[in-house]
């Protein structure tokens, strides 16, 4: 057992209102620089939709992530052989037009334009060339455009749906959408780290944050190809790759990352997960249908005395273990099994989990032309949900529909239980039946409700202290320099010649 600690996240998609505040908070702090304008380390997509960069989920084109070869896995589009032979031209890499050409507006024209017959305007100019351009795409160009020909129809997740199911999603009464906020998953089996020829990308042992050393990056751009989520970006100005740093300076100061902190819908939870690093290899190479379960099995119970002993053995601080025990992520992912990784079939073992949306309602229009809202039909059959199970399974469970159904049943049972408690218009048996179906008791349903709807700030963000008071010891053992001399420098007290 090799226990390590990892900062993990849960996004509750039912609560996301698609306001892009997270993206803006991130942009203001990290990517408002030349060469980085096009980067959105955090972005919010509309599903069904093509996303950013366009069709990033299509690994037949971009060759991101890992693929299973027998009992092991290999990088799909990079690696020691595949990557290095295409060093001179990285064939599967997205180019700027797959994202969008960043632009600003000539605001000074509003003030400095010569007097004339027309009102001066601020024309858009490219942030690369400085020339006038007409923006034709942007990071959220498909915002709310579910049901559109250009975006929703090209969603990669429709691949495994039958034509009838696809058609149904574009009927006016059934059109629906949900938002998908995305950021770096700080994976347990990161493809970007494995693909980097320079060894510039690494995972921090203490908290599992994946970072790029800007001094070691040599712009081979293999990480851009390898990351299946396309969350490693190439800065065309500095000639270095960049990615989400999980606001590590904020984390170390005990603050949640800016995207989490600013979240208006309070959909984001962050906490520590303890995991067994010995299980990573086997889990990453499991069969598609077992991927989610095997990934969840990597995370261990922070209350188990054996786990605690092993964690201490590995130098994990007591405060970190304590945080792991209080982690909201552990509750959502392990205790309640409500949150699932995005596209587990990429086999990077992402540490960002999503509670799938229980789409607006599953209601449908009846013969009289009104919405059917009686409890049976309103909450009734999961199979009738507006987004087909196959679609959700393609997003969150590598095609395993049972996993999705189990989660949705639990979410529904919580709602039925709360409706019965607060509104009281449901027969008690129905709520009890639903909870029994979802294998949960009243306490669990209430706990889920509280952490979902009424969580306090400190319950959403449980961040272990970085122990700045011991920061010096993180870099060196202070005892080693005891007796050395010097102000501002350290040298053994040895006489000169």
């Amino acid at each position: 057992m090799d226990i390590r600690s990892q900062i993990s996240m849960v996004f509750h998609l039912d609560k996301c209102i698609g306001c892009h505040t997270c993206s803006i908070a991130c942009k203001n702090i990290w990517t408002d620089r030349k060469g980085a304008e096009y980067m959105w380390w955090n972005n919010v997509e509309t599903k069904p939709g093509t996303g950013y960069p366009s069709k990033w989920e299509d690994q037949d084109t971009y060759k991101g992530g890992w693929e299973k070869n027998g009992n092991s896995i290999s990088l799909k589009g990079a690696g020691k052989f595949k990557g290095m032979k295409s060093l001179f031209h990285n064939s599967n890499m997205p180019v700027i037009d797959d994202y969008y050409e960043p632009w600003t507006y000539k605001y000074e024209n509003l003030f400095e334009a010569k007097e004339g017959d027309d009102q001066p305007i601020a024309r858009p100019v490219s942030l690369i060339t400085g020339e006038y351009i007409t923006p034709k795409s942007g990071p959220n160009w498909d915002d709310d455009l579910a049901g559109s020909e250009d975006y929703a129809k090209n969603d990669v997740n429709f691949k495994n749906l039958s034509p009838a199911e696809q058609e149904a999603m574009f009927q006016l009464e059934r059109i629906t959408l949900h938002y998908l906020p995305r950021m770096c998953n700080h994976c347990l089996n990161p493809a970007c780290v494995a693909a980097c020829p320079s060894g510039a990308i690494y995972k921090r042992g203490e908290d599992g944050v994946v970072l790029i050393n800007q001094k070691k990056c040599r712009a081979w751009r293999m990480c851009v190809t390898a990351c299946p989520y396309k969350k490693s970006y190439y800065n065309w100005n500095t000639g270095k790759s960049e990615k989400c740093v999980l606001c590590y300076p904020r984390l170390e100061a005990g603050q949640a990352p800016a995207c989490h902190h600013s979240c208006v819908g309070r959909i984001r939870y962050i906490g520590v997960m303890l995991y067994d690093a010995d299980k990573i290899e086997a889990a990453a190479a499991s069969n598609d249908e077992d991927l989610v379960q095997n990934q969840l099995d990597i995370y261990v119970d922070p209350n188990d005395p054996r786990v605690i002993a092993a964690a201490k053995e590995n130098g994990i601080h007591d405060s970190t273990i304590e945080c792991a025990q209080k982690s909201p992520v552990y509750k959502f992912v392990k205790e309640w099994e409500l949150a699932l990784p995005l596209h587990p079939e990429f086999r990077t073992l992402p540490n960002l989990f999503y509670v799938p949306p229980l789409l607006p309602t599953m209601a449908f229009v009846n013969e009289e032309g009104t919405y059917e809202t009686t409890s049976e039909n309103f909450w009734g059959a999961i199979e009738k949900s507006r987004l087909p199970m196959g679609y959700m399974a393609s997003l969150f469970s590598a095609g395993n529909e049972e996993t999705i159904k189990t989660v949705l049943k639990k979410l529904m049972a919580v709602r039925l239980h709360r409706r019965e408690e607060t509104v009281g218009d449901l027969p008690k048996e129905e709520a009890m039946g639903a909870m029994k179906d979802a294998v949960m008791d009243k306490e669990m349903a209430d706990a889920i409700f509280r952490l979902t709807s009424l969580p306090l700030f400190d319950q959403r963000f449980v961040i272990p202290p970085a122990h700045r008071e011991e920061a010096m010891e993180m870099l060196e053992s202070t005892a080693d320099v005891k007796g050395n001399s010097g102000f501002g420098f350290k040298e053994p007290p040895v006489r000169g010649l």
Binding site: L75, G79, K80, M84, F88, H89, N90, S91, M93, V95, I96, I128, T129, G130, E131, N189, P190, V193, A194, C196, P197, S198, G199, I201, Y202, K203, R204, G205, E206, N213, Q214, K215, K216, C217, R218, A219, W220, R221, V224, Y234, W236, N237, T238, G239, K240, N314, G315, E473, M474, L475, E476, S477, A479, D480
Partner: protein, 240 residues
């Protein structure tokens, strides 16, 4: 006089500048070492430029290196005319491939506004230098024929004398102008490595081939740090 300058002074200056300059740049300006790829701004034409250009130069570089390191073997190989022909034709082929690639790269860069934004003055100089080098090399290959036969006999001793600090330029001085240009531009190129994007030759990621795929860095490895219980020297953690 000018022979002394170009074939003794220049080579030594270039080698010293390469040695000192690249170490200084690596130590002090680590952030500025990059292959400065422009594929992100334009990816399609780059394919037809970059691949033939790089592969051509890689093979030519190692061809020259083999002739320098193993002159006897090369002469022995050339003892059969067909083999000589194969060697010469493939070298010419790689040279043409490099020239073809370079032309595409130059045209691509010149006509694309986005690429002009990321082109520095040194990049223009690099193009001029590479063009001189490749064209003079092709000229030598065609007009001063059977280079693989005379290189080991004339240039290998000259280069060897340079590296042994006993320069002997008698052989080089007698060479035709095209060969001289080729040599001078080669040493200029070597000397310019620390000041241009050529720097990326020196950071080819050899280590990638033998490191494990995953890479975890611990700031604080408690198992290795000295504690009061085990009084052995601590190991400084592998911090960036």
């Amino acid at each position: 006089m000018s022979n002394n300058f170009f074939f003794i002074g220049l080579p030594y200056a270039a080698l010293v500048v390469l040695l000192v300059g690249s170490i200084m740049r690596y130590m002090n300006l680590g952030f500025k070492i990059s292959s400065l790829s422009s594929q992100f701004l334009e990816g399609k034409e780059l394919f037809y430029g970059s691949r033939p250009f790089h592969w051509g130069l890689v093979f030519l570089f190692f061809g020259h290196l083999v002739a320098f390191l193993f002159p006897r073997s090369v002469i022995a190989w050339n003892s059969v005319p067909v083999r000589l022909l194969i060697l010469e034709v493939s070298a010419l082929g790689f040279g043409l491939s490099a020239l073809f690639g370079l032309l595409i790269l130059v045209v691509r860069r010149a006509k694309n506004r986005r690429l002009i934004m990321v082109t520095s003055k040194m990049d223009v100089f690099v193009y001029v230098l590479l063009f001189t080098q490749i064209v003079s090399g092709l000229w030598v290959a065609y007009f001063v024929r059977w280079g693989s036969a005379w290189f080991p006999a004339v240039l290998t001793p000259y280069l060897k004398s340079i590296f042994l600090f006993d320069p002997d330029i008698a052989g080089v001085a007698a060479m035709p102008l095209s060969v001289k240009i080729h040599i001078v531009s080669a040493f200029t190129l070597i000397g310019m490595i620390p000041f241009t994007r050529f720097m990326h030759f020196l950071v080819y990621p050899f280590r990638y081939f033998y490191r494990p795929y995953q890479y975890v860095i611990w700031n604080w490895d408690r198992k290795k740090i000295r504690s009061s219980r085990k009084l052995v020297n601590g190991v400084r953690s592998k911090n960036n």
